[in-house]
Amino acid sequence: MEPILFILFGAIAVAGSIMVVTRKHPMASALYLILTLFAVAALFVLRQAHFLAAIQVIVYAGAVVVLFIFVIMLINVPENKLPVERLTALRFLGVAAAGLLILEGAVLARKTTMPGGTAADSGSVQAVGRALFTDYLLAFEITSVLLLAAVIGAIALAKKKI
């Protein structure tokens, strides 16, 4: 059962992300992004990382993409005025690079053994909490400085006069 679900959600995630970059309208891209994020959350659930899955949905689908949609709605470019993107050599190069990466993934999957043997509950609330407050405590604290700077920056940039 699990391999089938994995392939299913993996396929949804990949297809969704291809749609994100190929859709003409940004709103459609944003919606496909949500689909992709949900599919990735489902993959987390399959790996027993329920907590990560919930956080993924709350933070990304629930807040980040909502902000994207917000901006798209605020700018609200009419459909006929959307910029037309031409196919340039650079773009083909990008596709080629992506192909190379996929190839590499295949090589990676076939040739190397991944030491991915993490504990079964590594995605649970308890495990994440313990990791955050022991091994990764410094990273956790530094994140707060980063967020503080970012918050102040957002206000400093957005406000006309402080």
Partner: protein, 371 residues
């Protein structure tokens, strides 16, 4: 779900010949159906009660034509919604317009899955229950935004954006105000949270009376949740006087019905979460529901849970018809300048309390004084 199926197979040996996954699947579909019927009924009856309460508060009679005291009004409304013409505006984005109500309804309905209705009455006791509810709520945000945008109508657009901004902002105090209950139970599972409030202290076992911070927390949660579900005095997304009806202004027929049902579903989810996290959930004061025979235990605990939740729903309606609406800037200021800091302070207070008093609440300490 699997454990339920296991116990079912044990109770009814005939079923042991049936493959496990069919039983699990059937149980899943059945429980979903039960929840759906409950949500629909609640939406219907809720709308009737809402109008009656509104009538009482505004010194009117309210619906009184269909059936005795107008009790069948909601059936008439339901039939009307289903039969009405489904209009899609010419300039709307047809696909997204059609998609949006499902997002909203699914987001609201999916939260029912983890609500602990009784001792064993829970569709799925996820170990991340509280976060799950917050995660599916994000679907509602997306749906509301889509509805507003796809309608191609400026009121709908403004309503959608207001709603999304509001839900995203108030999601933080809502989540933070629920955390004290999570801390006390040491688990995100709603069933665990309810269990942690049992004991022989009766109502004083509830998290509401655990310590001053949790008491405060309940009111913070209730206020923030009122806003997250777009209820008056926080109903700016709909603000009839400014936006006609907000993000759903272009919807009619059954599509409007979905928004309508989702609104009532949200109301119940909020009340149920408050019940589970602060008011002892399905615990019946001075009665050990878990120790009763399974049938009676489940029945009584279901009754207790629904009674508490419905009482809270009534309070929400009461507030809704009593207070005037806030302004947009006031609303945002309330979330970011007052509720968010207060909930953080509160969370800190609860954590310190648990640390200092080794997890004991005031009622427990008083009880231990008397042996």
């Amino acid at each position: 779900m699997e454990s339920f199926v296991h116990s079912l197979v044990k109770a009814v040996p005939v079923l042991s010949g049936v493959p496990m996954w069919t039983l699990t699947l059937t149980a899943m579909i059945l429980s979903a159906a039960v929840l759906l019927v409950f949500a629909l009924t609640f939406g219907g009856v809720g709308s009737y009660v809402l109008r009656k309460v509104a009538g009482d508060i505004q010194a009117r009679i309210g619906p009184n034509r269909v059936g005795p005291n107008g009790i069948l009004q909601f059936l008439a409304d339901g039939v009307k919604l289903v039969l009405k013409e489904d209009i899609i505006p010419a300039k709307a984005d047809r696909f997204l317009f059609a998609l949006a109500p499902y997002f909203v309804f699914v987001g609201s309905f999916a939260a029912f899955v983890v609500l602990p209705f009784g001792v064993g009455l829970i569709a799925s006791d996820l170990n991340i229950g509280v976060y799950y509810v917050m995660a599916v709520t994000s679907l509602v945000v997306v749906g509301v935004l889509l509805a507003g945008w796809a309608s191609n109508n400026k009121w709908a657009l403004l309503g959608g954006m207001r709603a999304a901004a509001q839900i995203v902002s108030y999601e933080i105090p809502v989540g933070m105000a629920l955390m004290p209950a999570v801390l006390i139970a040491g688990s995100l599972s709603l069933q665990d949270i309810v269990r942690s409030q049992g004991g022989l202290l009766g109502v004083f076992g509830w998290n509401l009376f655990h310590n001053p911070f949790t008491f405060f927390s309940f009111f913070l949660y209730f206020t923030a949740a009122q806003a997250e579900t777009n209820q008056t005095p926080f109903d700016l997304p709909e603000a009839e006087s400014e936006l006609v009806s907000g993000y759903n202004v272009e919807y009619s027929g059954i599509r409007f019905g979905f928004f309508f049902l989702a609104e009532f579903g949200d109301m119940f989810v909020v009340a149920a979460l408050a019940t589970a996290c602060f008011l002892g959930g399905w615990h019946i004061p001075f009665l050990h529901a878990e120790a009763l025979p399974a049938f009676w235990g489940n029945l009584l605990s279901l009754g207790a849970f629904l009674a508490k939740a419905f009482a809270l729903v009534l309070v929400m309606m009461w507030i809704r018809w009593t207070l005037p609406r806030l302004r947009v800037d006031q609303l945002m200021r309330m979330a970011w300048k007052y509720l968010v800091p207060l909930t953080f302070v509160n969370l800190l207070g609860v954590s310190l309390w648990l640390l200092i008093f080794k997890g004991k609440g005031i009622p427990q300490m008083i009880a231990s004084l008397f042996g």
